[in-house]
Structure formats: C-alpha cells, structure tokens
Symmetry: C2
Subunit: 398 residues, 2 copies
C-alpha cells in the first residue's frame, strides 16, 4: 500500500481570493526558503530590527513595542487580551461580526468581566452608541473594537471610536487583522493603545506570524500589572526583552516566517504604503461594481465597506458550497463562505496584498457569470465585467 | 540614509550546532516555498492528514489526536497544561533543568496548585524519588516530566516515570521537544498521556510548529472539563474539529510551515526512524569522546546522556561568550551557551536532525581545539579528533 505522504508535495496553484491567506509573491517565498540561522545569532537580530522598523511604518507609529507574535492572528488577539486584562477587570467588546464575538470570548477566557455591545451584522460600530453604552459601565479597563470585520466586510471608524473609548478612560484594543496594509491604520494619530494584525492578508506573507503594537501607556499597564500574564508564550514583557532589549531567550523564533515577513514588508515599502492602499481601493471598487451588476447584494452598509474584503449575498436558489467548489476545482479560484450568522448566505471575496490585482477581479466575475448562469441564475454575460471596468477607469481618473 | 531593510535578505550559511534550530535540508526549504493554498482547501486537508499520519509513526502511537500546534515548542507546552489543567487542580512537576522550571511556571499560570520535585541539574529524574513524592500528594490531576532536558543534556527514563505516575492515578505529561525523532519516544507502549515536541530539533524542519499527541484518556479529560480552556488559540477541542473532524475553521493554519514539516517527516520516513535514531547515537558518541579527550567535563550523568544534545563545562579561565562568538564569526558554527544555573558555565552542542552528521563533529572539535589553544588552554592537537573517530568506528562495529 502506498500512502499519500510518499509522494512529493505538489500544491495546486490557486488564485487566493478568500478571506486569507492571500497569494504570496515568489520573492517572499524565495526569501522564506533561505538558510535557517539561530534565533540568538546577531545576524538574526538585524532581521528582527528590520521587521520591527517596517512594521512601525505600516502602523504609522513610533511605538517601541511593535513586534510580530509567533502565531497567527487569533494568537495576537489572545496576546492583546491576556496581557492587558487581569482577572475581574471590566472590559467592553463592541461586536458587529464573528471576530468581535471571538474577541469577547477570548477576553472572558482571560478573566475579564465582559460587557457586550452588539451591532447588526453588516453595519459599523456607532461611536455615539458606544459612548452611551460606556456611560453605563464606568471604570472599564479596556474596550475592544474590530477595525475591519472579516466576517461582514465592514470597516468601522476607529479614530472616532478610540476618542470615545479614551473619554471613558479605557484602553482601546483594535483588531486590524484585515485592514493593516490595505487601509490606513494610524496607530499614533488615532491614539490606539493595542493593535494587532496578521501576515496572511494585506501584508502579503504566508500565515504564521501576527504583528502587534502597544502604546507606551498600554505597555505601562502590562508591565505594572499585579498578576502574572496567564499565558507564558504570549507574555509581552518577556517578548519585549527578546525583541527590543537584552535579546534574552524566550522561545525559538519562527526564523523563516520572519524572513518572509521581512521580504513582504520590503515589497510594501518599495510600492509605497499609500499606493498599496490605493490599489486595494481601486480593485475593490471594480469588484463591488461587478457584483452589483450581477445582481448580488453587497452585505456591508454603503460607506462602511472594506476594500480588502467584499461580502455579498448568495442569490436565492443557488447552493453556496456548490458554487465555491466549482470555482475552486474548475477555475482554481478560492473565495470564502459565510461565517456565523452569514453561514451559507454569504460569499466573502478577499482582494488582499498580492491578490489585490485587477486581473483577479475579471477572472472571478467572468467565472461567477458562467457558473451562476449554469445554475439557472439569470446573467447578462459581460455586464459585470464592463461594470467593473468602468468603475476601475473612473477610479483611475479621480 | 539607507536602512538595513532596503537590502535583500542574504542570511549567512551557519552550521547549526546549538540547541535548535538545527540545519534544514534544502528539500524541506524548497517544499516550504511552494505556493500557498487555503487552510480550508481539500488539497490542504490531504497535507494535514499526511502530516498527522507520519507524526503518529514518529510518536509510535495510534492516537487520533496527534497534530502540530501553530506555535513553537513553548506553545505546545502551554497547550498541554492549559487543556488538561483546571483551576485548583493539583499537579506535580519533576524539575531537573530549565525546561522543567518553565513547565512548572506554565502549569501555575494555568491555575494549577503546583508541587515541585527538584533533581540536581545534570541528573535524570529518579522514579523511586517520584513515587515517594507522589505519596505525599494524593489525588493529583497530572505530573509533568521532561524526557530530554535541553538545558542539561539529560535524558530521563520516561517509561518508568509514567508507570509511577499512573500508579498514583495521574496523567503523564511528557516534554519530548529535544527527543522526538532523535531518541525512541513510544507514546503508546509507555502509556504517555500527553506528549509534545517541536519541529526545529530532531524533526529537521524550521521552528514554527509544535507536534502534540494526546491519548484517548487525556482527550477525554479535555473534552469533559467543566471550565473553558483559558486559551482560545491552544484549545484542543476546537483544534480537533479542524484537524480530525469537521474541518471547522479555528485559526488560519501556517500553511507553508505545514508543507515544511510534511517534507521533513517524509525524509525521516525514507531514512527510517530507527536509522535516524542510530545516526543521532553515533555522532553523539563521537562528540562525547572528542569532548572528553579535550579535557572538558560532560555535564550530564553517565548513562543519562542525550544524543541530540551534549552539554560540557567551559574550562576554567576560558570566557564562554568569546569562544562562542569566535566559533560563530570565524568558523560559521553556532553552539549554545548555558541556561539558568548553567549560564556562563556550560556549552550546549546540538547534533539534531540534519545537523547530526559526522562532518559536523569534526568541524566543531577541530575549531574548538584551535580556539581553546589560542586562549591559553592546553590542547594536544588532533587528540579530540582521533578520539571521536575511534568512538564512531567502534559504534559502527557494534
């Protein structure tokens, strides 16, 4: 009997238009495959410094504590909560999607007394509603909000939310997993205290690392906490020693993933952060126009739509999973299905990082036209493509 | 001004003879650099299944729950503790080095009432001493032991320790970070309940994943626990759904690291696990003979010496850091310094995975002879080399 592991790995080439991972550029893959060095080798310290310096630029921050966590984004979410929260601390989580729910779950596991403020899926978090809610719960330690809700495709106005959170004297924890590198994230200007992300979305590296940045005020809270952080692995005080100070061993860094992140950030610096963000905006405009021309409903409220991730309704009578399977198997295109209350009802299309290319908009729309038509959905062939073209051309003129 | 990140990554080629990461074979690096696919792509599920099947062979287990955790080894240590332990549970940690201390620290952060049993550094954990100690603490939930203490180079007799732990009715948590793939680890035969490791040592992949295996009895405890696991990221019940059952999304898997692990395990299957373990034994025998011929003291008790990692004393009058710096800068060889009470007093030499090659033994010994001689230490040139040669030749005959 031969087992499948006996054959060489030959992963299929897919166009990754799901909610992450996004396509990784060959330069990044090549950097990742360069020889391993030790995590305490001074040559690696230089790689670490390079990564931190570029991450600070992407976050628009001077925060010394700006490092990649050795996990995926969910681990960074946990890092944020575990370090800031002590048992019994009051915390409010503004939930308007799946990742807000996850943030509340994690805060609770970290021992917080969690207050929840729910906003319907598809809508951004309202600063006025948050202000009213915070008045009911004085003395909170922190408030968690999701900048870019990957489950709904909604972007919330973080600057305004942070102002409201600071009025209430709490720390602002911001999830920027799907926005960092694809939208403006201005850590210092907006006064964000803790902000985390992930490598496999707009940053263009494979999944496996998760950047986090903490303001001095937030690090002060972490350093002065009375109880031990419940997680050893995610303990930021120790991680700061390794990344910024004495280079003291904490855990063995994922060396090659750090190489990959360095190269993907270098590519972002070459392109220019503003250009990168504009590229995300342009292709998203094209996609949205095409999707609407197809007659699908965009699920994020107008004016609060993410560029890196677009959500749309699955048309009545169309089987969600079948369409996605056909896209993946016959067109080599991956898109995402709905999560939570959107399960079975939504498609999530990511145009992030290296995947945020015009050609991918047209590849997806033309495939969707064909597949939906075969499934009995009425399609005017080419309509979505020309709508996308017009939107992109208009974007270029503006 | 040009910043260092503006230049292309050109990591130096080092011979990695520290306590990990070990050298990674070009085949593994190449597999890691193949295109990213989605973490919910059925093609990736096959990669996951391949990895789990091979890990079961390396662990000598039929445990369904045998998966790589998306972290380095310390994260797997935390996974073991966070899932098994509920607040107030009694736990005993047998400490005979730095990683035993870490295990106790993590168990405490997970809410355990921790009892500590200390054994001097350099000695293995004594089953009789453990039996006596366990009698003083009836009703413990779990006992943690380190199979291969990476700080001291000591291997403990896990089978006997597990028997004693089971006599006391507790679960046996075993740290096999430095032994898996370099020594026999017989999960099922020895009755280990929870056993974790890491990819960057004897398994021959880069750092960034950490295999863990749980017996059915241990998973039963995890599934039936009353309180939530304090870590969302390391929650094994959810991870089981993703790895073994419904493929439900939990977090975005580190895709390319999983490719790398698959290829490194494939190479182990090709070589044969027994051959791999013998290779580690042979080169370690050569190194130990050479080190003793150099007049350095081996710090692990005779009969309890690890093969993948050898510890030796820094000779009087010799400056630890200077020798290691010279090795790294002039000979491109990395070895490790001492941790904890061995800091400044010990060198730790890893011959693990792809680094466990005869040529590395001779490269290191000849460099050490030269460097130590220049530092004023009396050296009979070639003596350590011929001692190593003899030991290896004897090993081959036996």
């Amino acid at each position: 009997m031969t087992s499948s592991y006996m054959t060489e790995l030959q992963p299929p080439q897919k166009v990754l238009l799901g909610p992450g991972p996004s396509t990784v550029h060959p330069r990044v893959l090549a950097a990742m495959a360069t020889p391993v060095m030790g995590h305490l080798d001074p040559a690696f310290f230089q790689v670490m410094d390079d990564v931190c310096e570029m991450l600070r630029q992407v976050y628009h921050t001077n925060n010394k504590m700006t490092v990649p966590i050795s996990s995926t984004g969910t681990g960074a979410m946990e890092t944020a909560c575990a370090n800031v929260i002590e048992r019994g601390d009051g915390v409010l989580i503004a939930r308007n999607g799946y990742f807000g729910i996850r943030l509340g779950d994690i805060a609770e596991r970290c021992g917080a007394t969690v207050h929840l403020m729910d906003t319907p899926w598809g809508k951004p978090v309202d600063p006025n509603m948050l202000r009213d809610e915070l008045k009911k719960h004085p003395g909170l330690k922190a408030v968690g909000v999701v900048h870019a809700e990957t489950s709904t495709g909604v972007i919330s106005e973080v600057k305004e939310l942070v102002d409201v959170i600071h009025e209430a004297g709490a720390l602002a924890i911001v999830d920027a997993v799907t926005s960092l590198g694809g939208h403006d994230v201005r850590m210092d200007d907006w006064g964000i205290d803790v902000c985390y992300s992930a490598t496999q979305k707009c940053l263009g590296a494979p999944p496996g690392l998760a950047p986090i940045s903490l303001s001095e005020a937030a690090m002060d809270v972490v350093v002065k906490r009375e109880s031990k952080v419940q997680s050893f692995y995610f303990n930021l005080k120790d991680l700061e020693s390794y990344w910024n100070q004495t280079r003291a061993y904490h855990h063995t860094s994922p060396i090659n993933m750090t190489y990959a992140l360095r190269e993907s950030l270098r590519m972002m610096m070459e392109e220019g952060l503003e250009n990168r963000i504009q590229r995300h905006a342009k292709v998203a405009a094209g996609l949205r126009a095409g999707v609407e021309a197809l007659g699908l409903k965009l699920l994020a409220e107008d004016g609060a739509r993410l560029n890196p991730l677009t959500t749309m309704s699955v048309p009545d009578g169309i089987e969600d999973a079948k369409v996605r399977r056909t896209l993946l198997n016959e067109y080599d295109i991956e898109i995402g299905g709905g999560l939570g209350e959107f399960a079975g009802k939504a498609w999530r299309v990511g145009l992030m990082g290296e995947s945020a290319r015009e050609r991918n908009v047209f590849a997806l729309l033309s495939a969707l036209e064909t597949i939906l038509s075969k499934e009995g959905y009425e399609v005017a062939f080419g309509a979505s493509l020309s709508a996308a073209q017009r939107a992109i051309a208009t974007f270029d003129k503006d």
